[in-house]
Point group: D2
Chain length 139, copies 4
Amino acid sequence: MAGFSHRSPVMFQHCDPAGIVFYPRYFEMINAVVETFFDTAIGWSFHQMHSVDRVGIPTGKIEAEFHAPSRLGDDLDWVLVFEKIGGASAAYVLRAYCGDEARLTARGTLVMVDLDRMTSRRWPEAIRQKLETFLEVHS
Amino acid sequence: MAGFSHRSPVMFQHCDPAGIVFYPRYFEMINAVVETFFDTAIGWSFHQMHSVDRVGIPTGKIEAEFHAPSRLGDDLDWVLVFEKIGGASAAYVLRAYCGDEARLTARGTLVMVDLDRMTSRRWPEAIRQKLETFLEVHS
Amino acid sequence: MAGFSHRSPVMFQHCDPAGIVFYPRYFEMINAVVETFFDTAIGWSFHQMHSVDRVGIPTGKIEAEFHAPSRLGDDLDWVLVFEKIGGASAAYVLRAYCGDEARLTARGTLVMVDLDRMTSRRWPEAIRQKLETFLEVHS
Amino acid sequence: MAGFSHRSPVMFQHCDPAGIVFYPRYFEMINAVVETFFDTAIGWSFHQMHSVDRVGIPTGKIEAEFHAPSRLGDDLDWVLVFEKIGGASAAYVLRAYCGDEARLTARGTLVMVDLDRMTSRRWPEAIRQKLETFLEVHS
């Protein structure tokens, strides 16, 4: 099993008056990890996807459990794996750690859509094959 | 059953290059509905809570299903009810509609914490009693 | 002289770890005031503008001076007037107060653009006439 | 003269329905560049500053001119220099380019404050000396 790893810092703009990450900012970070994954691991940037190929991958549903608060200056280590690649969808699990401490676990479902028709469409075969290399293997 | 109703417009700042609400912005809206609920329906503003009483209600977990995209200019009608009020927690369901069309359903769990110790603490009894009037009744 | 007035609350999502409004959030508020002004005072919603008429009013330049910090729970009273309406541009002054205390003064220039060509274009005459009723009169 | 250089990508979360950076997001980026500068070039992280030393550097005023729009996928190269270091303040110029094209020029003034008293205070001498190495030299 190969997960995609990404590190991002908790910055001032993410933190609330209690000094911890305001949870809607976690969803911005989650989106940024997914965007970076598609750009660097799959080779399909959001620019290429949206502006050239006119497709998008909106989130159909998402859930997150916040295990411990994150604070200004923490470095978050994200690990992304996929649980299921459907015809036009993909279900992922994204975990964030600070050192050894789990901070959050998110599960989301991306749906591939044609932006001009706003209807779902199948993953291109080359993309599907690359996504499948990030499937979490259960032993 | 009495739900808390709130209307908010989809504004420019919420929308992505596909012209629809970028889902992390929905979580900002969800937080704003919860904040407005505590202020106006419970009579306990986030200012009073955080700055005076030194408690907070961070979100322990949350899930959202996005039924249909929302666009610039849509008015969203939010309805908030609670499913369970625990000793130091409260589980809510928040639904958003545009006209008759369901746009999203979110389920979140708030945990009451002492901000100086960052430990959970019980709801004040007067607050609990008010929250219970928003419990969803299943017949 | 008639300024456009708008009230908005300082909410949790606007505040930083110091408990005051994080200044990039002020610019979101400023954009929201301008958007609300065009919708309600001019009768030209951003939805109509962007999605139907395919024009936009991006900000060419903006400056803001922050006179005093704003805190969670403050109500901000915004007053918008225009200083100059050009062929394809409009320069505004937007002031925010909390009670009698000035919180910020912003000066911005909107430029009307054709979204499909990304070139500037003249204000429609009916819009210009309405905008001119919000020109600040210097005696 | 040595400016501080930083590269950051334009991501999905920064872009508006017109497909270009929504200008309030530029101010988040500007804040992030300043934060990264203090962390890596001055050796004084926002965490150390806010959480340990209990000081902050809020922005007293800021202006930005947007020369050309930025789009999803653009890489922005930021160059930060200082124009004036006062007793408790510092005026900077921050320019962003995409390749050879200038995208924006921002001028901001940071004010050093004691977070517990919310009053201004002088730069620590060691910090001032480091900041002065980033003063723009006019020939």
